[in-house]
Symmetry: C2
Subunit: 234 residues, 2 copies
Amino acid sequence: MKIPPIAITRLSVYARNLELLDQKGVEVVSSGRLADACGVNPAQIRKDLAYFGQFGVRGVGYYVKELSLEIRRILSLDKTWRLCVVGVGNLGSALLRHAQFIDGSYTFVAAFDRKPKRIGARIGGIEVSPIEAILDVVKNTGVEIGVIAVKPKSAQEAADMLVKAGVRGILNFAPIQLQCPAKVFIENVDFGLKLEVLYYKLTAASSRPHRRHMKAGQVIVPKPKEPPNKSFLV
Amino acid sequence: MKIPPIAITRLSVYARNLELLDQKGVEVVSSGRLADACGVNPAQIRKDLAYFGQFGVRGVGYYVKELSLEIRRILSLDKTWRLCVVGVGNLGSALLRHAQFIDGSYTFVAAFDRKPKRIGARIGGIEVSPIEAILDVVKNTGVEIGVIAVKPKSAQEAADMLVKAGVRGILNFAPIQLQCPAKVFIENVDFGLKLEVLYYKLTAASSRPHRRHMKAGQVIVPKPKEPPNKSFLV
DNA sequence: GTATGTGAAACCGTTCACAGCA
DNA sequence: TGCTGTGAACGGTTTCACATAC
């Protein structure tokens, strides 16, 4: 069966909201209620889940704990993934330090940088190694995913080294499109792109306003029927 | 005319690649060449541009400098947007410090935090103010976009304060869906979501491999005809 | 009665294919 | 001739609507 790529991102969102519901003590939830929480259509949730199995009870809904677990299994959130980061500048260090306080699905096991004065430093409990060590360290420590947090100019080189060392996935924070063999999966996190989308929206909204003034006697419509904002899916 | 939302993100990508071409001294580019650089279909570029006007010359292509300028104008990259950040922990400070080295379309004019010991510190040249100051400072300094870099628990509160203070756009790094009035535009940067998509892909790829072994006498296909990876479009 | 699971329909975005123009 | 601009065809995703099951 063909699974729309965006459905995977939605599963992550469902998982998050299910955890929140569980924390609140909610035991059963319908696709309608979960859809409200996630900002999507109820049928979409049922379709997305249907790609992977049947998790609900007709006439009842979904058991929160159970569904949460199922989705976590689908997304492999039930293991601890081993990551390394290349580049411990502002962003790289922030990621390392952030991870140390998160009890999550991943852990950093190595960090690399090119600048000699950064080598040997400990950031977020991880010692920084020279980039030449990538090949050995990645292999020896079983790193599965490499995080690229270097400047755009060095990003492709970092990717090449990570691929050579055997990582199977790359999370790329540099604003360039990496070239990698198809067997290596790449996800990009690009806040510059998001910012530029914001610029456009702000500009478009103020240059062509479509909110009309009310005329006397005009009735206030109870629900403006705003379509849900789905920008979180990127 | 209805413009597909992702088209805006692609325009950003086109702009980046046009700048690279310009730096290389390329003066004219066809949709085909630009498409190769951007990893999209040539017709897509022409369609995306057609939403905003006619920028090319038939039989020739697009003048790099000119098109670059046009797109920058469409995205309002030709002004300096005024940003503030709420939360100067690992991520918030990294953003402030990063911005100070970028000669770009934005500048941070204020930073806020709740923790008393962070107040008054200077990060990336910006002094940190208490969150209670948001209302005044945002109004007085003309902040247009607020960046949320606080913990998920405080993110909605930060958003409320920013909205009250009059920002028109929010760049949200917290992994929750913010509730805001429709007039305020929100873009989310959520590396956790990206990471979880990677988990899924890595798991799916190894649990059901589709690369078959070659049989004797089998012909090597010259181009495997891989569809372009569009994950950069968030 | 109520909510899931799922074909069918509607919708939206992408790509094709070619007319139009330098 | 070569490449843009664009209607039409295509393919994928979302939503509807209802049969199904508790």
